[in-house]
């Protein structure tokens, strides 16, 4: 069991090292290797579920990696979404050259994400964060068209500042507390020997740095360009997983597990959350580009997660963590849908589409699942997490936030139904008369993700018990 932790990093590493040789063997060999690696990672993660919130630490060859309830939830999210993205890429990448390099970088990104979740030290967290960042700059620019390179550079510009801020924060933490290890930091801060004024400065740096990574509203400028220009599986990974692991996970680990935050930091979260939720949804409404619309709606959904965290009570935290899982599932599904549309129509402009329902049945049906989930319609998964967040807001007596969250949920349903009408229903644009459904693996990935949206919604009780509650217990541990 303990060695499985190491395999979460070594398996993708081995696959990446083999990739250049394997991709020369046969045209399809790289596909098989990548998909099998993804499947293996999912199997490894699922085996940790019986731990039920225990902490498992691997100390081998002087390394230290650990799995606890919080990292387990994110590990499952990362590796499940990554597997479906890898599966989807098999046919999707027919448009592109250099698929071996694509898989290598995607697997390295997954390795970096797993690393972020497994390390127990602030500086190591930075190192693995940088793996994810550099891999995603290159993957955003993967098509090497001007818009890809442009948004990669823009992403890079802001992301480098973010990591700089984080490192200065790390420096200040070390200056004050003389250690960077999570367990020792927790001990020091609990003993009250860390002067809190200084921690506030570090906290501001961390919120700005990880907030940039999570694309929270005042720091969101890079996301609406970077996510649409990337190939669809990468958009799904970036929007579904990377902003959560690089942003939300780090924030929860720092401000809940290591340092049980005082109310003024939680209020910052709440404020930023409301700004992102409202702002992201409003801008999403006016988009013509389908992927840009999804990107803005990601900002809005990150807002929901932050609100749940900012409320600071059990219901809010459970809602936030559950929404991390749900948003990863339905947003990656929606991005894969948009990729399927782009694969066939070669456009992202929703006004050019229309009536595709009968031409692309799988894409149409699965995108309805995605729409209903993101809007929070029962019994889909998004309903439960939003319900918990709203109940949390009521419990914390934040009635305005609760009303806004309900209203924005209806608004989300509105603009997603508008998207459905423009893309799938209405009159068929004659250009698309001979359009066919996308190839097998792309359809399969979308069907599986859609099924998961429904299944998680139906069996929400089990998901809460085995994945979300152990994670929430860690966040509540300090209270």
């Amino acid at each position: 069991m303990i060695t499985n932790i190491g395999l979460l990093l070594l398996l993708p590493l081995a696959a990446v090292i083999l990739m250049p040789w394997v991709s020369r063997l046969h045209r399809r060999a790289a596909d098989v290797l990548a998909a099998l690696t993804g499947l293996g990672l999912v199997a490894l993660c699922l085996r940790f579920i019986p731990l039920h919130g225990e902490t498992l630490t691997l100390r081998a060859l002087h390394t230290q990696f650990a799995v606890d309830g919080l990292s387990l939830l994110f590990l499952v999210v990362v590796n499940v979404v990554a597997f479906f993205c890898l599966l989807y890429s098999i046919d999707y990448m027919n448009h592109y050259d250099g698929r071996g390099k694509f898989y290598a970088l995607l697997l390295l990104m997954v390795l970096g994400l797993n690393g972020i979740l497994l390390v127990r030290d602030l500086f190591s967290l930075y190192v693995y964060l940088e793996i994810v960042s550099i891999a995603s700059y290159v993957l955003v620019a993967f098509n090497l068209k001007w818009d890809g390179i442009e948004s990669a550079l823009k992403y890079l510009l802001l992301s480098v500042v973010a990591t700089g801020l984080i490192l200065v924060g790390v420096g200040i933490i070390y200056l004050n507390l003389g250690t960077l290890e999570f367990a020792e930091l927790k001990l020091m801060l609990a003993a009250g020997s860390g002067p809190s004024a200084v921690f506030l400065l570090a906290a501001a740096l961390f919120i700005a740095g990880f907030g940039l990574k999570a694309a929270i509203m005042p720091f969101h400028a890079w996301l609406p360009d970077a996510h649409p220009s990337a190939p669809a599986p990468i958009s799904a990974m970036l929007s579904g997983v990377v902003i959560k692991v690089a942003g939300i996970y780090a924030l929860t680990r720092l401000f809940f597990d290591i340092y049980p935050s005082p109310d003024r930091i939680l209020n910052v979260f709440l404020f930023l959350g409301v700004a992102s939720m409202v702002g992201g949804a409003l801008i999403a409404y006016f988009q013509r580009d389908i992927k840009r619309m999804f990107a803005y709606s990601s900002i809005s959904q990150i807002g929901y997660i932050l609100i749940g965290l900012g409320l600071g009570n059990a219901l809010g935290l459970i809602g936030a963590l559950f929404h991390v899982l749900n948003h990863a599932l339905f947003k990656s599904l929606l991005f894969l849908n948009s990729g399927a549309l782009q694969y066939r129509t070669h456009t992202r402009d929703m006004n050019e589409m229309g009536g595709l329902e009968h031409r692309m049945r799988v894409t149409g049906m699965t995108s309805i699942f995605g729409t209903l989930s993101i809007a929070g319609v029962p019994p889909f998964n998004g309903f439960w997490s939003k319900l918990f967040i709203i109940l949390g807001a009521l419990a914390a007596k934040q009635y305005a936030v609760a009303v806004l969250a309900i209203f924005l949920s209806i608004f989300t349903l509105g603009y997603f139904l508008l998207m459905q009408r423009r893309v799938f229903f209405g009159k068929l644009n004659l250009k698309w008369k001979d359009l066919k459904e996308v190839p097998l693996t792309m359809s399969l990935a979308m069907i599986f993700l859609a099924a998961q949206c429904l299944l998680v919604g139906i069996f929400f009780n089990e998901v809460l018990r085995y994945l979300v509650e152990p994670a929430a217990a860690i966040l509540l541990g300090g209270k």
């Binding site: 190192v127 290159v138 001007w146 442009e150 550079l153 490192l167 200065v168 200056l175």
Partner: protein, 102 residues
């Protein structure tokens, strides 16, 4: 705090800010890389200040070495992207990044 630590912190934070200014105030993409490097110098100084103050320069030295390696890989990738941007699109002007307004 000792005078030395304060000086290291002062110059470190100043260099960090100058680096950010270099990244965002200029038009040429290659200046972005200079900005990243100046920022990295600032971060190195802040880390060094922490190590000096804590009396554990040996520990912080390991972090600085890792940081230099990370920064070099980043610089190489950024230079490659810039190089290709120039070779294919013949432009290094950041204002040509039309969508940069957010």
């Amino acid at each position: 705090m000792t005078e030395e630590t304060i000086l290291l912190l002062l110059s470190g934070l100043l260099l960090f800010m100058v680096g950010v200014y270099l990244m965002f105030a200029y038009r040429n993409l290659l200046r972005v890389i200079l900005g990243v490097e100046v920022m990295a110098k600032g971060v190195t100084l802040v880390l060094l200040a922490a190590g000096v103050f804590r009396g554990s320069v040996e520990y912080i030295q390991a972090l600085i070495v890792t940081f230099i390696i990370v920064e070099t890989i980043l610089a190489a990738v950024v230079l490659a992207i810039t190089f290709v941007a120039q070779r294919i699109y013949n432009s290094l002007d950041i204002r040509n990044l039309s969508k940069l307004k957010g």
